[in-house]
Amino acid sequence: MLKYDIVVVGGGPAGLAAAIEAKKNGVDNILVIERDRELGGILQQCIHNGFGLHVFKEELTGPEYAEKFITELKNMGIEYKLDTMALEIGEERVIHAINTVDGFMRIKAGAIILSMGCRERTRGAISIPGTRPAGVFTAGTAQRFVNMEGYMVGKRVVILGSGDIGLIMARRMTLEGAKVLAVAELMPFSGGLTRNIVQCLEDYHIPLYLSHTLMEIKGKDRVEGVVIAEVDKNRKPIPGTEKHYDCDTLLLSVGLIPENEISKNAGIALDPVTSGPIVNESMETSIEGVFACGNVVHVHDLVDFVTAESKRAGKNAARYIKKEIKADAKTAKTKPGEGIRYIVPHMVRPENVDGTLDLFMRVDNVYKDMNMIVKLDGKEIKRMKKKHLAPGEMESVKIKKEDLGFGEDAVITVQLEKEGA
């Protein structure tokens, strides 16, 4: 049986940052397991720029951003195994993994960091009716084909959903010579970043239809057309508003889901809202010594936030190995209040907080001129003015450790209030 102090499952941006930070915090014996052929994860197929504004104060492409971490990881001598799949996490933090070189492995880990990322929601998940021809791709799969494999997936394209990958792919397909006819979004607001709406749609005169849904896919062998229609307040299609498009390709950008099959089978508690593990201030899951970070916990919009969160997981995994984390400390729960969909972390042990506590959250609608208020057991401890809030843009709140004095079973809530209310 192989033995490591820390095993990181997933070598994307989250896993890389966590492994590096763990090493910087004094743990030497680290292994990164990556199921793909290269480190860097999905960043490798994101050849557009805009990565790293927060972390590096410059605009990088996905592969450039990944490369910085890959180089650092290699320079630090951290071990990694490519093309290696973790099949399960058993008792006592023993990981079962396979690859073509080492065969079947049992790996005993002092601590585990889960960083498996996320996957895209598919046609089936949203039950789009019609035929089932070729030419229906998730935006990310199309991105992989176009950017990494070097093949185009279609000529006339309709995109369902306005998630960031869909928006980026609208531009990418256009630049590669395809005609993007429309982007249809079910919600009355886009799920993507504002800058992507501007730079990927508006700049290329690609129409975005908010409050629209896909009614039907046509074509037996290959997509021959789609029908979209406007929806009412209850997201039901409004008869008579159908628009027909002759197209050969439908891209889906209808959301991402944390990839937690291993976590689930290991018995780790998941949050039904985020679909990721329930974590505490140290990014530790419900199983002691198993940490999680990045999109496997909740879907981030910027990789910079993934990096920050993963550093925290890496550092705390190292502290766990060095027995610096107090497991039985007093614990508060976080609770999303009015206007907030979820908060990560879900639990906070102030004794283990290092300087400040960062809470990450998403709002449930588009809001203007709001106050974001943090309360501890009903008592306001922080208030921030927010000009614009949208579900597509993650919010964060920093709370000073000294503001976190509380008794047993405390609750930290974050809520929105109309300014002046």
Partner: protein, 487 residues
């Protein structure tokens, strides 16, 4: 010149072809599609019915129970998933209870073993997740679940292992009768055969009319289904039917052999024999109807929806007989439900008709009923996993993350007799793309493996039908070899 041509490579065509391969016969199986089991067989409820439903005096009635009893052996021989999990027909009121009792009586006449009428308490104990309003049920323990296309592919492979020829992408255009037998004209040349089995599913009437006048018609009846994520497969332990009422048959809720949950179908008579599209109204209808069985189906765990066509005969019963106008032309038509359940018995019955025409058939001494076992990596023990990778490192590379399917399994499924040549064919054989990501991650990899193993360009790899291309062109025409190889 073949002795026998089988038209149609669905569950019936493959069963008959495999049965024929037990004898000293030169057999060809022809299908217009790119794969085995690409019509009705690929989209149905995947149930091996116990056999209480059909009227005793019909072919359906006699062949269902007989076929059911044959399933264990054939699936064991061919290494195909089959689970005899039993079925329940649930009743929510007294009227439905009456219909349950009728089914029980009919089942007794069909000699269905071990049936029992369950009380409310007994149902609840067996199926705690069912609707509380259920007052009783008919339990038929011999009912089972199977993977129809897996079985069909295995039958074709085993038939081919034993010498039968399989001609895919071969569409029958016309048939000519002559002194020796028949000339079948196809888009892929002529096929001459002394005898023909017409197993052409929804097109069996058209094929029949190529040699005889119209004696039956087949019309398509569409059924739509939802299939849910594996985490929901243990919601029920049996195949759960709703008792038939004046308003119709209701929908079924059943686990699949791979642990998913299947909900459906509805029934809708159509004209178009190709219309397998799903509709929003019908999918909603199925969901609503399933609530009578259980309120607990998490439809947000739906991974895909699909529709299949039943081949409904104008005669009301299976049509398994030699054409009165064309000697040696045997129709095996109108095989709607319980066709999958009856299939092994249908094949035997059909071969008996051939024996009646030809006199005794000579059995082959070297017939091998078994096919080479399939390595299903995730079903192996840790030690077996280690061993499998040692023997062939390709079993150490996971291609499909959702179902944990290895490269070794995919390569094996391409190179077997009746191997897969399309992305969907691979999906049906070894399941990459059947999981919750529906091929998002593994699709490009499967295409790459198909192109490599079949020695074709990746742009030629199709999803399913010949025209179902996936990639349109290369983004950069002038790619250096280095870049390609480093991927």
């Amino acid at each position: 010149m073949y002795d026998v041509a089988v038209i149609g490579a669905g569950i019936i065509g493959t069963f008959i072809t495999r049965e024929l391969s037990k004898f000293n016969l030169k057999t060809a199986m022809i299908d217009k599609d790119t794969d085995i089991a690409n019509g009705t067989t690929k989209a149905n409820s995947a149930i091996v019915h116990a056999g209480y439903d059909a009227r005793p005096s019909t072919l359906k009635g006699t062949l269902n129970a007989k076929g059911n009893a044959m399933y264990g052996k054939v699936c064991e021989e061919l290494d195909v998933h089959f689970k005899r999990i039993g079925s329940l027909v649930i009743a929510s009121n007294e009227e439905e209870m009456e219909s349950v009792k009728d089914l029980y009586e009919r089942g007794r006449k069909n000699n269905i073993p071990h049936m029992k009428i369950l009380s409310q308490e007994e149902v609840r104990a067996m199926e705690p997740n069912l609707n509380e309003e259920i007052i009783g049920a008919l339990c038929a323990p011999t009912a089972g679940i199977v993977s129809p296309w897996e079985l069909s592919v295995a039958l074709a492979e085993n038939a081919a292992d034993n010498g039968a020829e399989i001609k895919l992408e071969t569409e029958v255009l016309s048939i000519e009768k002559n002194e020796e037998g028949y000339i079948i004209y196809t888009n892929n040349g002529e096929v001459k055969a002394k005898y023909i089995f017409n197993c052409a599913g929804v097109y069996a009437d058209k094929i029949n009319e190529m040699v005889a006048s119209r004696s039956f018609t087949i019309h398509p009846r569409r059924g739509q289904y939802n299939i849910l994520d594996k985490r929901t497969g243990d919601l029920v332990n049996h195949v759960i039917f709703q008792a038939p009422t004046k308003l119709g048959k209701g929908v079924l809720v059943a686990p699949t052999v791979h642990g998913n949950l299947l909900v459906g179908p509805d029934a809708e008579d159509l004209e178009d024999k190709e219309n397998t599209s799903t509709t929003s109204d019908r999918l909603t209808f199925i969901r609503e109807k399933s609530r009578k069985t259980t309120m607990k189906i998490p439809f947000n765990g739906t991974i895909t929806s699909f529709a299949g066509l039943r081949a409904v005969p104008s005669t009301g019963d299976f049509i398994i007989e030699e054409s009165k106008e064309a000697k040696g032309f045997i129709n095996v038509a109108g095989i709607e439900s319980p066709g999958l359940s009856a299939a092994p018995a249908i094949a035997e019955y059909a071969i008996d008709i051939l024996k009646g025409i030809t006199g005794e058939l000579k059995e082959r001494k070297d017939f091998n009923p078994r096919r080479k076992p399939v390595i299903r990596f995730m079903e192996l023990s840790d030690e077996e996993k280690a061993e499998a990778i040692k023997k062939d490192p390709r079993y150490g590379r996971i291609i499909c993350r959702c179902e944990n399917i290895t490269e070794g399994e995919i390569v094996d499924s391409i190179h077997r007799n009746a191997g897969g040549r399309t992305v969907d064919a691979i999906k049906r054989r070894v399941r990459p793309g059947m999981g919750r990501c529906q091929g998002g991650f593994c699709g490009p990899r499967v295409m790459e493996i198909l192109a490599r193993e079949l020695k074709i360009d990746i742009k030629e790899v199709v999803k399913d039908g010949k025209a179902s291309y996936i990639l349109t062109e290369e983004t950069k025409k002038d790619k250096s070899q280095d870049v390609v190889e480093s991927r």
